[in-house]
Amino acid sequence: MTDFSIIDKLKRSKILDLLQEGKRIDGRALDEHRTLDVVTGVIPHANGSARVRLGDTEVVAGVKIQPDRPFPDTGDRGIFICTAEILPLAHPSAETGPPQPPVIELARVVDRGIRESGMIDLSQCVLEENKSVIGIFSDNVVTDHDGNLFDTCSYASVAAIMTSKMPKWEMKDDKPVLVEGEEGDTPITTIPVSVTMGRIGEFILADPNIDEWACLDARITITTNSDGNIVALQKGGKDGFTYEQIVKCSEISISSGAKIREIIKKAVGETQ
């Protein structure tokens, strides 16, 4: 039903053949993520940072925390914004210039996964209500692209936020002034973990690599919180899922999400 280039069609037929034997091209189980490597504190000048490799996909996330004006309708909460960019050195096909729809979707899905989980308690990020709040910016840059940027960016931002330190400001003459030498932990309430899966024919694959990605029928990203509840979801791709397939994906997202959450917690703890 969906259409692919000749190369992708050949790839797809090879991948489908293997799947029918229960195998993936890189030997993983269907619901298995690639090796996840998380290093935090890689950008000391940022308030928090992490470099994450998921297989051969690599993302650097940096968190900047600085005073900002609140949004007009939410003067009692801080600001959280998460971005994502595919650097042109990440892949021969990556482009410079204004972000295209797939990159805009990437950034917005990563942002919503974290935002909707309520990971950061933004009510603790107010300097003066309706006037001055704390803004938390988590910028992800993809430095090597081997598929599944959704999860890699999400893990990088989550690790960067968890290890970020929040400076202190006081209001003086209606303006926020930095209190030198004092900083606290960023108020974290839960650890959101996104799990992206693709469908090829009847098979559901967790964490598709770039070759699998090129011949997916459809994909789905489901984010769960520390309670094991579902906090965000995004379906993508040129085809759909049956109800049963989606229920299966939600189950994978909860079980795999729990494992990945432990890896992130361990990595964050080690460098803290």
Partner: protein
């Protein structure tokens, strides 16, 4: 168990003690939906939908040539979708520049329609779907997708099925059908669903908010029921245009 409410505030009473919602509906009730096919002269196909307070115009052109040519595909036609809000469609006047939100929704709706449209019959060409939000009231992406399906059918584009769409969600601790603007802003979860009834496929699915695994499953089921109700209204709109004159 107290559920983490995530990034949302919920201090508004969205459901009263009798299970009645802020706009008077029951939890499993949709707002009033009316669809009219063939409302524009110049478009190849068109539809106008009112879905509660949402007022949306859909227009389709094509199959037609693609410029620049290298954007076309020799093996199949391509579908292009633009979801666009008028400056006067929302509370505070919207800046006319396309927002990142509009770009994402355009992509999501495009991917929800692609499985339904037999693009392989029109290699090298494009089918363009333009969705104009005249008034927004919560659930625009579902309503726009509903209108898009009818406009594609009105344009005579061969389709495997209509895509029908409706959101489900959670507010006041209850699962609800067809989330309105207040429930989207202050509720606990919003889950827009796009569905092809004949093929049993969910082609649009998003979720913002917090749901337990059990709620999640029930929420999808509830949303699919809503989609099926809209499906009947879509078919009636097409029947009205193509068969009412012969009465």
């Amino acid at each position: 168990m107290v559920i983490n409410l995530g990034g949302r505030k919920s201090d508004m009473v969205l459901l009263d003690e009798n299970g009645i919602r802020c706009d008077g509906r029951k939890v499993n009730e949709t707002r009033k939906v009316t669809i009219k096919a063939g409302v524009l002269k110049n478009a190849s196909g068109s539809a106008y939908i009112e879905f509660g307070g949402n007022k949306i115009l859909a227009g389709v052109f094509g199959p037609r040539d693609v410029h620049p040519k290298h954007m076309s595909n020799p093996d199949t036609g391509i579908l292009r979708v633009r979801y666009h809000m008028e400056p006067f469609s929302v509370g505070e006047r919207k800046n006319p520049a396309p927002s990142r939100r509009e770009i994402e929704i355009s992509k999501v709706i495009k991917e929800a329609l692609e499985p339904a449209v037999m693009l392989e019959k029109f290699p090298r060409t494009a089918v363009d779907v333009f969705l104009e939000i005249l008034q927004a009231d919560g659930g625009t992406r579902c309503a726009a997708l509903d209108a898009a399906s009818v406009a594609l059918a009105d344009a005579g584009i061969p389709m495997r099925d209509l895509v029908c769409a409706c959101a489900s969600g959670k507010a006041g601790d209850a699962l609800i059908l067809d989330v309105n603007n207040e429930e989207d802003q202050a509720g606990q979860a919003d889950m827009p669903i796009g569905y092809m009834p004949n093929l049993g496929k969910i082609t649009l699915l998003q979720l913002d908010g917090v749901l337990t695994p059990d709620e999640f499953n029930k929420c999808i089921e509830l949303g699919v029921e809503g989609c099926k109700k809209v499906y009947e209204i879509q078919k009636n709109a097409l029947r009205e245009k193509y068969f009412s004159k012969g009465d």
